[in-house]
Symmetry: C2
Subunit: 450 residues, 2 copies
């Protein structure tokens, strides 16, 4: 059922733009969803995208703005006057409008705000700009339906009708006191089945889930997921109802957080996409590579310490990549499970019980892998028995150490309030490489004596 954007369709649009046929273009795009138009615009060049944007009406363009990639949006906005941008924002919910304003350069920001027509809307947007974007305050919208506990059902219904005009989807009706403090919520059903003179205070539900303006976005996501909420009210330091967050915003938070963890695990340090510029991609990728390279320097020095082995046991050096790779893989496995457990809040028990479990697990894995290595080194790699034993003992020790490090590092980072996902990817692989090689050659020195 989804509209598929074809090469031909894009070509047709480009043709119409070059022939300056605005009306035909508008007809062609009439039935197309704004999310699809946004995708089409991302395929066009700057001039074409701006042209397309200007011929569409502002109800549609406002939604398109929201769907565009940040870069394309920036280009479009650069071609619009402050007044034109303000017109777009007047069509949007406060949270979306605030997000777009936050992306503007400082000077244009104020100009746009002063051009907003609806004063209440403008006030709400300015208010939202105060909050950090990764908190409940930064996520919430001002659009909500609220009633005073001292009203009766009749006043309530009237007021609600009025308020609901600005709210695209009513998820809940919130009840506040005279000081605007959140007291509870109201079910639509109760409201409709109660006598119109009944005071709200008698019918509302006093139990309501909420978050504070400074609650972290990932925490809001966790709470809404756990309690299966489609919307949650947000209160300020004084308990006053200041906004609400809906599930679609949370979907974005979950997606972004997952993408970020995935990228950290892969050694990519910024929020980048495959289609970003080479410079941006380099900025995201180079830092971890430099770190890994410096780690590599250390491994060169560590190997240098054991150059005495070169004369009698040169084959030892053939096994370094194998040992390093196993250490890296085991370490990443351990840390990934911990990082995911921390993110999903499914980690029970103490650090010590966790480490004990990890050691048991890695001993089991290590023994199985050790047997494979012992047999393989004899039959496939034709090394002598003592060397086989050496490498096998080293592998077992390295696996246990790597899994302990992989458990210990993220849990410790987390305890000190640092994102444990940093401990996945290159960081854990590099430190495990170095430790692994050190352990391997130390054991070899003990067994073979060089």
């Amino acid at each position: 059922m989804e509209f598929k954007i074809s090469r031909d369709f894009i070509a047709q649009i480009e043709q119409l733009i070059s022939e300056n046929k605005g009306n035909e273009l508008e007809n062609l795009l009439q039935e197309i969803h704004y999310a699809d138009i946004a995708e089409i615009m991302e395929e066009l060049d700057d001039y074409e995208a701006s042209y397309l944007f200007k011929i569409l009406d502002s109800e549609k363009t406002a939604e398109i703005l929201l769907e565009l990639d940040e870069e394309v949006r920036e280009k479009i906005l650069r071609n619009l006057s402050a007044k034109e941008i303000a017109e777009e924002l007047d069509e949007l919910n406060t949270d979306d409008a605030a997000d777009i304003i936050a992306e503007l350069p400082q000077s244009k920001k104020e100009e746009v705000i002063s051009e907003l027509e609806d004063v209440e809307h403008a006030k709400d947007i300015v208010d939202l700009l105060r909050y950090d974007e990764d908190t409940a305050g930064g996520l919430m919208a001002k659009e909500l339906v609220k009633v005073n506990e001292n009203w009766n059902v009749l006043t309530c219904v009237k007021e609600m009708r009025h308020q609901a005009e600005n709210v695209s989807r009513v998820h809940s009706i919130y009840v506040v006191d005279d000081e605007e403090r959140l007291k509870g919520r109201l079910s639509l059903k109760d409201l409709l089945t109660t006598s119109t003179k009944t005071p709200i205070s008698e019918v509302y539900i006093k139990k309501v889930d909420y978050v504070k303006v400074d609650t972290k976005d990932v925490e809001v996501a966790r709470i809404m997921q756990k309690y299966d909420l489609e919307a949650i009210p947000v209160i300020d330091e004084l308990g006053r109802l200041v906004g609400r967050i809906t599930i679609d915003d949370i979907v974005d938070v979950i997606k972004e957080e997952a993408d970020k963890d995935y990228q950290l695990a892969a050694g990519i340090s910024q929020d980048v996409e495959a289609d970003d510029s080479i410079l941006e991609l380099t900025r995201a990728r180079l830092p971890w590579l430099v770190l890994a390279l410096l780690g590599g320097f250390i491994s060169v020095r560590v190997l240098g310490l054991f150059d005495g082995a070169m004369d009698n046991h040169p084959e030892l050096f053939f096994f370094t990549p194998l040992i390093a790779a196993m250490a890296g893989n085991v370490g990443v496995q351990s840390s990934a499970i911990i990082v995911q457990g921390l993110a999903n809040n499914t980690l029970s028990g103490s650090l010590w019980s966790r480490l004990l479990k990890e050691v048991t697990l890695s001993l089991l894995n290590g023994l199985i892998l050790g047997v494979i290595l012992l047999i393989g080194s004899h039959f496939l790699l034709n090394v002598n028995f003592m060397l086989g034993i050496t490498v096998t003992v080293a592998l077992l020790s390295v696996i246990v150490t790597a899994s302990v490090l992989g458990t210990f590092i993220p849990m410790t980072l987390n305890r000190y309030g640092i994102d444990p996902a940093l401990a996945t990817g290159p960081f854990i692989t590099t430190s495990n490489d170095i430790c692994g090689i050190l352990i391997y050659f130390s054991i070899a020195k003990m067994i073979l004596g060089f």
Copy 2:
């Protein structure tokens, strides 16, 4: 605002259970959310958890069942008769009930189904069991509000009241024809502001997003996210409306998909959690480790090919872990960006343009890293100039190759319908290790000649 489960609270509950004080326990848990009770039950032993479950009323326990970890749920269900399980399921929506039945052993499945009281409900559940769990059919619920295009507004409102009783949250009203084929949707507002005698066919919106029963769950998630939908109707092969999917189910799909990709990147091959048993964790982790070990065997053989270098250039072997690590890291970075781009559908352009970009990017990164290595090898590692040059040239070649492989492998897997995320983690690291070492020593042989 979230209820925090303390050690003390758990101890208090355990105490009450051991003293067999069911009533006090019920009072204590009266105000606690079912999601929190599920968390509490996961902290208790089997007997305690079952005890707790049995004293609570079935409206609450049905929801608790849904929230429990699969393992704990299995234990609880094992202690319940088919009739008792059926009572729980009668409280649940069809999709949730079907999910729970699907987890039961075959013999108990039929028994439970035959005990379901509400025949319509039972029919719907059986119907849902036919679909694969990773398709729209497996995600959808049967509960929805639908009206016939031939009715008038009055009939419609009456019918809707009746239907809405079974639907916890009405997201949309769907319009069907006499053959139950989906024709469009109805806005509540239009329904309430139109004369009661108006035929529905005159007021309904003919444009409606939908998915087919066999659409993949990740595709449903993508469509709902893209078009900002809170619910989407599902049609069968004949275009008949058979169910609807709500955004909360999609949140789970997104979360699971992200977790799975993350785990694949970390070399964990099944859906496991930190709290799973050592055996389960081993099953998830060992396969990739065995693969990496076998890859290690190959790297030992490759190094063996170049043992001639041992005499004149032993330091070459000190650099193998560095080269292998860099190859691994670059490869994972490249493939992670591709895998994410494929998952988010943000990848434009052909394989060749993608490869060209990646080569440019890796040349840039490689040159910067090469300079660091050249300087570092001279000042920090004190190796001779020719060796420094050799290692630097090798690093640059290895980085370019690794990034090409990291781009090519996931894109090719994807083209053949294989999950590209398989190409992240150990698979890409291992193949890059081997290639990297081979390239490194080949270049060294060319430059230094041994």
